[in-house]
Amino acid sequence: MIMGSKAGPAPILSIENLQVSLFTRRGVLPAVDGLSLTVSAGETLAIVGESGCGKSLTALAIMRLLPNPPAKIVGGAVRFMGRDLAALSEREMQRVRGKDISMIFQDPMTSLNPVVAVGDQLIEAIRRHTDVSRHEARDRAIELLRQVRIPDAERRFNDYPHQMSGGMSQRVMIAMAIACGPKLLIADEPTTALDVTIQAQIIELMKELQSSSDMGLIIITHDLGVVAEVADRVAVMYAGRKVEEAPVEALFERPLHRYTRGLLGATPSAQRRRGSRLVEITGNVPALSDLPQGCAFQNRCPDVLDRCRAERPQLAPLLPHRSAACFAAEKELSRDAATIGA
């Protein structure tokens, strides 16, 4: 078991320069632009960003489940255990989905087929990729339900989705996702639709399952509380690009990109002084159809430089193990270095 390995063995998933475009009536929009990511076995990568920044599209691109039209992968590679997923046929990809890579969706109440008992759905998930009899699959399904802490699993087995609560349904979804022992689990906002106490339980469960199976985990969220709880590494996305990547402690300690700083400033926490206001990020995410020249965050950035309006900052390794695409952060770090040097 590798705990929170930052420089683990060869990554199980590596995305290189992924480009996803939306082909709309208003033209071709770069929804994911030059994204590179890696995930190793046993590692948890959190992808953070607000709605519409391309997080979910990235997840769907990995699974090759992009809604086409309008979305399409136009460049880059998604390498999973050395294989380029983009080059697989649909049939080969079906063997990867659910077996090697699984996915959990945002709303558990709508992610289960309403007319099929949950147990049967679980059996289906098991038998999809493993050659076992229905009877064996049933035993395995009940065991999985126990593993995701569903009380009275045998009785719950015959329940229909509408008879279950949101938290229960999400547990079933997780059970289905891990049914074939995937190497990588992608969780797209797994707790957003649940209430807070249930969120904590689901997060706890996912951490536990991960540590016992050594699978890689990509968790997509806009909840920094969740990130702090589970992630080893964090990638922050803004307007389709990765703007910062860092180990989780380092990110919370000292966010480099001004957008990350804004996100952390807008999140309530227990340490915060009472009565202090949460600082919001002013303005809105620019529409993909009219991204400004230079940095996409320039119009909302408190420390905007002339340079930010002229050229687009590239992702650069500013500190060990971490990178950011921000001229203001670069300037600040070089000033720090100068003061220490003097």
């Binding site: 063997r95 989905r97 659910g98 945002q106 709508t110 289960l112 087929n113």
Partner: protein, 281 residues
């Protein structure tokens, strides 16, 4: 599952008219099943004096027609034909309709465009004339009548299935199935179809009633299978005597009317039982 069935039965039974309809349908089905025991001889055989009025002879309770054939035997055997054609035609229409509708909605794009234009093409052809054309081309056999009726009645089922599939296709559970590695056919027919089925079943039950009418019309016009008794054929044979012996037309006419009415009532009941949301309007 038993609770689901009881739920269904309870909602169905709340509609009194549907219970009456179900009773009538069961009577017709019973007669159809019992016909070979009840009237073991060929119903098209001449048995007695022509034009005995109903209730005049105890041997021929519903009388005899212009040739002296037993009307009761013809009605009982005709029920077999009528129901068989009605059910099989509806099944044919449902299979064609679901396949076309589901494919159009799930695949989308130009496939959808093509299949829907095809559906509209079928809808623009006058139904009865289309049935008669197919029967006269293929031949006057019971199988061909069934196929012909199925071929003209699938369009509303296709459109309904398509609409249902469109709303279900983008639901998250479908995405979840794809993320599990299921193929398109498995998702279409194994996952989406069961969700889309209730309104389709209701429509199919109504198509049975429509098919009975089509079959009667075909037989009335003399294009039915001449070797098989059918209600429509009986009316057609009797129409020349309508001024004197009107009962020859009236008895099978009544049978058709009651059967079609009963099937429609059952359809309404199924609608109430399967679409509880629509009921509370």
């Amino acid at each position: 599952m038993p609770t689901l069935f009881f739920d269904f039965a309870r909602r169905f039974a709340r509609n009194r008219a549907a219970l009456v309809g179900l009773f009538l349908v069961l009577v017709v089905v019973g007669v159809a099943i019992a016909a070979p025991w009840w009237f073991p001889r060929n119903p098209l055989r001449i048995v007695g004096r022509p034009e005995i009025w109903p209730f005049m002879s105890s041997r021929y309770p519903l009388g005899t027609d212009s040739l002296g054939r037993d009307i009761a035997a013809m009605i009982a055997h005709g029920a077999r034909t009528t129901l068989l054609i009605g059910l099989c035609a509806s099944l044919t229409a449902t299979i064609i309709g679901i396949t076309v509708g589901a494919t159009a909605a799930y695949v989308g794009g130009w496939v959808d465009e093509l299949l829907m234009r095809l559906t509209e093409l079928f809808q623009t052809i006058p139904n009865l004339i289309f049935v008669l054309t197919i029967v006269s081309i293929l031949g006057q056999k019971i199988e061909y009548v069934t196929i012909a009726v199925g071929v003209v009645t699938w369009t509303p089922i296709a459109r309904l299935t398509r609409a249902e599939f469109m709303s279900l296709r983008d639901r998250e559970f479908v995405q979840a199935c794809r993320a599990m590695g299921m193929g398109s056919l498995r998702i279409m027919f194994g996952e989406i179809l069961p969700n889309a089925l209730p309104p389709v079943i209701v429509l199919s039950s109504l198509v049975v009633a429509g098919a009975v009418l089509f079959e009667s019309a075909v037989a009335f016009l003399g294009l039915g299978d001449p070797n098989v008794t059918s209600w429509g054929q009986l009316i057609g044979d009797g129409r020349t005597l309508i001024r004197s012996s009107w009962y020859i037309c009236a008895v099978p006419g009544l049978a058709i009317m009651l059967t079609v009415l009963a099937l429609n009532l059952v359809g309404d009941g199924l609608n109430d039982a399967l679409n509880p949301k629509l009921r509370d309007r």
